[in-house]
C-alpha cells in the first residue's frame, strides 16, 4: 500500500470543439489544480486563461467547425503547466496575433484581449502555431499557496 507521495501529477483532456465545452474545460482544470490548494485569485486566473485559450481553439482554430481540443496539465511541486492545443487553421503572424486589441474576427465581437489576459494572469505564455496544422498555447503558473499546506 505504498502511495507515490511526490507532488507530481498529470492529466490530459480531449473534447469536441463545442462552445458549451468551454465551461467544462474550466471546471476540469480548476478541479485538477485544486490539489495545489490555490487561493480564489489563483483559481480565477487559471480558469480565465484556460477559457481564453479554449475559446480561441473553437472560434479561430476550427472556426466553429468540428475538431478536437486538447488540454494538458502537469503539476510539478507548486508549478502548474497547461497546454491547450488545436489542429485547426493556425496563426500566420503570432506577434501580431498577440498584440492587445488585435482580432481577426471583430464581426464576432471579439475584443482582441485573449492573449493579453493569458499573459497577465499566468507567469509564462508561449505560442506555437503552423498554418493549416494548428496552434499550441503553453502557459505556466507558480502557486504561492502550497507552502501553507505543510
Amino acid at each position: 500500500m505504498v502511495e507515490k507521495n511526490n507532488n507530481r501529477n498529470y492529466m490530459k483532456l480531449e473534447f469536441l470543439s463545442k462552445s458549451s465545452n468551454e465551461s467544462f474545460a474550466r471546471v476540469v482544470v480548476a478541479a485538477f489544480a485544486s490539489q495545489l490548494d490555490p487561493t480564489i485569485e489563483e483559481l480565477s486566473d487559471i480558469k480565465t486563461a484556460v477559457s481564453e485559450a479554449v475559446t480561441n481553439a473553437i472560434i479561430h482554430g476550427y472556426e466553429y467547425g468540428e475538431g478536437l481540443v486538447v488540454v494538458e496539465a502537469t503539476i510539478e511541486d507548486n508549478r502548474l503547466d497547461i497546454v491547450v492545443e488545436d489542429f485547426g487553421k493556425g496563426i500566420e503572424d503570432i506577434n501580431k496575433a498577440m498584440e492587445p486589441f488585435y482580432t481577426s474576427k471583430p464581426d464576432l465581437e471579439r475584443s482582441g484581449m485573449g492573449f493579453t489576459v493569458m499573459e497577465t494572469f499566468m507567469d509564462k505564455l508561449e505560442v506555437e502555431s503552423e498554418v493549416n496544422k494548428g496552434t499550441k498555447v503553453k502557459m505556466s503558473k507558480v502557486f504561492k499557496s502550497l507552502s501553507r499546506k505543510e
Binding site: 468551454e22 485569485e41 477559457s51 481564453e52 475559446t55 473553437i58 465581437e109 475584443s111 484581449m113 489576459v117
Partner: protein
Amino acid sequence: MQLTTEIRKDYMIVKLKGELDHHTSEEARKKIDKQYFNNNLLNIILDLRELNFMDSSGVGLIMGRYKNCMNRNGKISIVSTNPYINRILKMSGLLKLVKIYDTIEEAIRG
C-alpha cells in the same frame, strides 16, 4: 448563465448571473439586443454583481452594447463589485469608456 431585464424610465437594466464566457455571451447578446431594439430603449445598465466568472468574451459583449448605445446617443454603465471581474474590465481599457458603480441607484444617478 441567467439573464433578467427590467426597464426603469429609459434605462434597460440587465442582470447577469453565473458565468459569462464566449458560449453564454452569444446568448446574452441576442437577448439584450432584441429587448433594446424592440422597445426602442436608450440606456443600458449591466448588473454584473452576480457573475462569478467573466473572460474577454464578456469584454466583447460590453463593447458591442457600448457601440449600440453610442449610435442612439444613449449611455451604458456597469454595476460590478467582484474584484476579479473588475480586474478584467480595467485591463481591457473599457473603464475609459464605461463607468463602474457599486449599486444600480448610483448608476442611474450617474
